[in-house]
């Protein structure tokens, strides 16, 4: 059976959308309110989907305790109640849009040892969300 197990997690963080490659005026035009200099925050929701064979002894693709601990260590602890631009090294240069956040979270979780990572979906608000399923082998990201 082809099964995907999905778990939802939450963290709260702030960010500012500002690109060093754009002028001040362009930044304001492109990012609007999201370019306000002191940043602003969201309650993010992260859906993590994994797949794999169901262990006959446990009935599980992966033990949720293992998945929860891995996501907590790789994503929740480094991101929760943080300013993404300054507290997460990956966003020193890269703009912390939710697109880039989604890719960063996927890359942090792809080495989960107990199952195959299928998809990361990030809700920035209840009205917008982003999904990433990884890049084909050999491409850079």
């Amino acid at each position: 059976m082809n099964l995907h197990l999905t778990r939802r997690y939450r963290f709260a963080a702030s960010h500012r959308l500002h690109s060093a490659q754009l002028s001040e005026e362009e930044n304001r035009r492109v990012y609007g309110k999201c370019n306000n200099p002191y940043g602003h925050g969201h309650n993010y929701v992260v859906e993590v989907a994994v797949s794999g064979p169901v262990d006959r002894a446990t009935g599980m693709i992966a033990n949720l305790a293992d998945l929860d601990a891995f996501v907590a260590r790789e994503v929740i602890e480094p991101f929760d109640y943080k300013f993404l631009n300054q507290d997460v090294a990956a966003f020193g240069e890269r703009v912390p849009t939710t697109e880039n956040l989604c890719i960063e979270i996927f890359n942090r979780l792809r080495e989960f040892p107990r199952a195959r990572l299928e998809r990361v979906r990030v809700e920035e608000t209840g009205l917008n969300s982003f999904e990433y399923t990884g890049e084909p082998a050999g491409s850079c990201q």
Partner: protein, 147 residues
């Protein structure tokens, strides 16, 4: 191709316990889910059927028919039941969300004769769900027979 989804809810209890494990191992692997008298959830089931609308009716399949299938195959079997002891299809299996979704897929697959069963999504809680696509290539969108 159009994907039609119908949602139902059922409430049931279960516990996780493998008789081949020691008591200590059961507690370690299954945690709170190993509590001996079980516990319950309000399960939410989303069943997605894929197909082309019939030109005469504009429908992939009659929702009434799907509702009856879900009532008979899922609600009547599982609603307000203790899954470990009262659902023979789960006998000998740990009634995890993975195994329940697989049983539901297996029960529904032969019953859906208009269009084809694309996905069974079973929510154990709003923060935990399993998608079953049947026998497809691992990691892919298994319901697409051509893939």
């Amino acid at each position: 191709m159009v994907y039609l989804t119908r949602k139902i809810e059922f409430s049931a209890s279960h516990l996780y316990h493998n008789p081949a494990f020691s008591a200590e191992e059961n507690r370690r692997v299954f945690g709170k889910c190993n509590n001996p008298h079980g516990h319950g959830h309000n399960y939410v089931l989303e069943v997605t059927v894929a197909g082309d609308p019939d030109p005469a009716t504009g429908m992939v399949l009659d929702l009434k028919e799907l509702k009856e299938i879900l009532q008979r195959e899922v609600t009547d079997r599982m609603d307000h039941r203790f899954l470990n002891y009262e659902v023979p299809e789960l006998s000998g299996k740990i009634p995890t969300c993975e195994n329940i979704a697989t049983v539901i897929w297996t029960l529904l697959k032969p019953e859906i004769t208009r269009g084809h069963l694309h996905r069974v999504r079973l929510y154990e809680t709003p923060d935990l769900f399993v998608d079953c696509y049947g026998e497809g290539p691992a990691g892919g969108n298994g319901a697409e027979a051509s893939r």
